[in-house]
């Protein structure tokens, strides 16, 4: 935990240990660990002098943060109005079926986390699905399997090396 402590401290120092930078600091921590570990929130609370309950309040209020560890691959299905009208919910259902999890959950083997987002601003290419920062345009129910197979293949490739 020593190195983790140092890392979190470095994020805090990067923002001049200012209370107002709380959200930016949490974003840095989330980018590093893929979620917000409890311990990191305690460190932030102590270093910035903000009551722990307020730090937790901010961490749970904003959708971008996750207090639970997330899987290796983040599957985000856009459920903005335009994507909804073009069948986004049915795409989400297909992902839920294929991965065997509900929205917000991670697969047991920790490979995939399924989330939704209100709008990515790419409505022209909806329904949109983003996996690990890669945008997939005009997704259909049948493309879901193809998308998942691609990442599963990469997993197998990485595992055999």
């Amino acid at each position: 935990m020593q190195t983790e402590n140092l890392k979190v401290q470095s994020f805090i120092a990067r923002h001049n240990s200012e209370k107002r930078a709380l959200i930016a600091i949490l974003q840095d921590i989330q980018a590093e660990y893929n979620y917000l570990p409890q311990e990191s929130l305690r460190i932030v609370s102590k270093s910035l002098g903000i009551p722990l309950i307020d730090v937790v309040g901010v961490a749970t209020f904003y959708r971008a943060f996750s207090l639970k560890p997330r899987g290796k691959h983040l599957v985000t299905v856009c459920l903005g109005t335009a994507c909804h009208v073009r069948g986004g919910p049915k795409i989400l259902e297909e992902f839920e079926r294929r991965l065997g999890v509900k929205t917000g959950e991670t697969t047991l083997d920790n490979k995939f986390t399924l989330e939704t987002v209100a709008c990515l601003g790419c409505c022209a290419i909806g329904p949109v699905v983003v996996v690990d920062g890669n945008y997939h345009a005009h997704t259909t129910i049948r493309k879901v399997n193809t998308i998942l197979k691609k990442y599963a293949k990469e997993e197998i490739k990485n595992e055999t090396h």
């Binding site: 107002r20 930016a24 974003q27 959708r63 335009a82 987002v117 709008c119 601003g121 290419i125 945008y135």
Partner: protein, 635 residues
């Protein structure tokens, strides 16, 4: 990009703008302008750029043709697209494979590649020039037009089209007391949705005494379906910065913030880059261009909260707290960020300021209607042929936008409704298509202008489902402080959900209306006060659809799962096995060339069969066997 040298005086800036403009004019090379905003990249424009680069290198043509990587050109349906100068050609849906051809045929031999031209979805006619394309014809791209002319990561490109000339004019020839009346006279109103007169806002802010004043650019753009601000920040960030610096001068502000939502990584990247470049060149910082103006801008990122688009919640978020709105008065203009006077304007509003200064308030006020001046950018999305960002003068009708510019509804389906204003807005039916777009007329019709999202819906969209969708969004995005909004949106959602699942009963609509009206009245902030609009507008124009769900347990559009079932139409079925192969539950029986049958007890209504069928032989019909549970239950 070249090295940036600090500019220390107004005269020097004038000279630099002149020089860059000259450099641009004297560059006689052909230009391939490739759109590479977020949508463009998602469609592969980076690969297209690579293939063009390779072809140019191979032919040693660097002195004959250059590539300009720009932001979004607005015509998202046609992504990736390339505009070629001086040929004035518009190529759409370009594939990396076309790269070599474009160089060989068009650049070297001046030949037009027919297959890459725009085809009108209604007439089938092809158009080679941008000005001939039906999507662009009725637009007036005062703000977004420059996206196609510049590389957003290069400040010199912006200068080369006369960028920062308005700032120069203001600092050289005007006082704050002259800038504000100009903005007032122009009639510019807040483009974020509320439509508050910008000049008046600045006037109030100027009058407040204080050494420290803030201005904020609200780039939270939380409305799902709206992405005008993203496009402007990605494609022309300096335009927004110029507006902000002029605003700071007029109001007397010392610091500014651009609050960008977390879900726009490319916009964050480009605006951060632009701010750094502006700082380096001396347009931000202390004693800007040798004048008394001290002003600098910081970036604050959102973290996924729609409510942070509201002024007081946005301020709370920048301060590092939860985005809970507070009562106004006191208004942010008097007491805002860290208790100081703060002026918040939307990205598009700031983007309009330079052109008002450049062309004059008189010129600007000639565009639009009496109450709503200038142009507005809308994101035309949903069930529409020509999806994209359209910038039109106020006063144009919905019909013109949807059918002339948008090319109408795909698949020959009938238009049903257009939703404007995001979750705070409402759905307008076909009878309202000739409504001229301006702030007042939209509000009177039961919707709002909002930030510009315009979602088109066809006969296969269920309005009860749309209301349920918006209420679900709002109950999750509500900050949870006041009973009215937190409980109100949740309970309204429950009622509409029950109706959509077939558990609606007599009295539900009356209760829904009563609750909706009170939530509108009693809520603390704009989110709650407009949360009822989707429900009230759909009840106003589509009440019969609600009643069909309640009284007949029928969903006319064939969307609400409990009330429909998927069937194969025997007369249309060609026996191609497509639906059978697509079905994840193995619920379709059929042999090749034989009529297929969907087994209802195995069907999970996922819709894969309807998606797979190319002959429209799969339809949704009314569910005959419905179990009606007394009292209604929540899932």
């Amino acid at each position: 990009m070249r090295r940036i040298k600090k500019i220390k005086s107004l005269k020097e800036l004038e000279a630099v703008i002149e020089k860059e403009t000259e450099l641009r004019k004297s560059d006689t090379r052909a230009v391939l302008t490739v759109s590479a905003g977020t949508c463009g990249q998602a469609r592969g424009s980076l690969k297209v750029i690579d293939s063009l680069k390779t072809a140019i290198k191979k032919g040693n043509l660097e002195d004959k043709v250059k590539i300009r990587v720009t932001g979004c050109h607005g015509f998202c349906e046609a992504e990736p697209n390339i505009i070629i100068h001086p040929h004035d050609l518009f190529y759409q849906k370009v594939d990396p494979k076309n790269g070599k051809d474009i160089i060989d045929q068009t650049i070297l031999k001046n030949k037009v590649i027919d297959s890459l031209l725009f085809v009108d979805p209604n007439t089938g006619e092809k158009a080679a020039q941008e000005s001939e394309i039906s999507f662009y014809k009725k637009q007036k791209r005062l703000v977004l037009g420059d996206n196609a002319l510049i590389d957003p990561t290069d400040i010199f490109d912006y200068l080369s089209i006369g960028g920062y000339r308005s700032l120069l004019k203001v600092l050289e020839t005007m006082t704050p007391e002259e800038v504000i009346p100009a903005v007032k006279k122009s009639g510019l109103r807040g483009r974020g949705g509320a439509g508050f007169p910008t000049g008046t806002k600045w006037e109030i802010a100027r009058k407040v005494k204080g050494d420290i004043k803030y201005i904020i650019c609200n780039a939270d753009e939380g409305d799902p379906g709206a992405y005008m601000d993203r496009s402007l920040l990605e494609g022309n960030p300096h335009r927004v910065l110029e507006g902000m610096i002029i605003g700071a001068f007029a109001i007397g502000a010392t610091e500014g913030y651009v609050y960008v939502r977390d879900e726009y990584p490319l916009a964050v990247k480009n605006i951060t880059l632009a701010i750094n470049q502006a700082r380096k060149i001396g347009l931000l910082g202390k004693k800007i261009l040798g004048t008394k103006l001290n002003f600098d801008i910081h970036i604050a990122k959102g973290a996924g909260a729609f409510v942070c688009g509201e002024e007081t919640a946005l301020i709370a978020s920048i301060e590092g707290r939860v985005g809970e709105p507070r009562q106004r008065p006191p208004f942010p203009a008097i007491k805002g960020l860290w208790g100081k006077p703060t002026t918040i304007n939307n990205v598009e509003t700031w983007g309009n300021v330079p052109i008002i200064i450049q062309k004059g308030a008189e010129w600007y006020s000639q565009i639009g209607t009496d109450g709503s001046k200038g142009t507005k950018i809308f994101s035309l999305v949903g069930k529409i042929n020509n999806t994209g960002l359209v910038e039109v003068p106020m006063g144009i009708t919905l019909r013109e936008i949807i059918f002339d510019i948008g090319g109408g509804i795909p698949g020959e389906k009938a238009f049903k409704a257009v939703q404007t204003g995001g979750p705070s807005g409402g759905c307008l039916p076909a009878e309202m298509l000739d409504l001229p777009i301006d702030y007042e007329s939209l509000t009177k019709a039961g919707s709002i202008m909002g930030s510009g999202g315009m979602i088109v819906m066809d006969e296969k969209t269920c309005m009860v489902d749309v209301a349920k969708y918006f209420l679900n969004f709002l109950r999750d995005e509500s900050c949870g402080k006041c009973v009215s909004c937190r409980e109100g949106t949740q309970r309204m959602w429950e009622i509409v959900k029950n109706i959509s699942e077939g558990y609606g009963k007599e009295g539900d609509l009356e209760l829904l209306e009563e609750l909706a009206k009170i939530v509108k009245d009693a809520s603390l902030c704009g989110l709650g006060q407009t949360a009822s609009n989707p429900v009230l507008s759909t009840l106003r124009y589509f009440r019969d659809e609600y009643e069909a769900h309640i009284k007949e347990k029928r969903c006319p559009a064939g969307v609400c799962i409990n009330l429909i079932r998927y069937v194969v139409i025997p007369e249309k079925c060609t026996g191609c096995l497509a639906c059978k192969n697509a079905c994840p539950q193995d619920a379709i029986r059929g042999v090749i060339r034989g009529v297929h049958l969907i087994e209802q007890n195995k069907c999970i209504k996922c819709g894969a069969c309807l998606e797979a069928c190319k002959f429209e032989a799969v339809e949704t019909q009314r569910e005959e066997a419905i179990r009606i549970v007394e009292g209604g239950t929540e899932k």
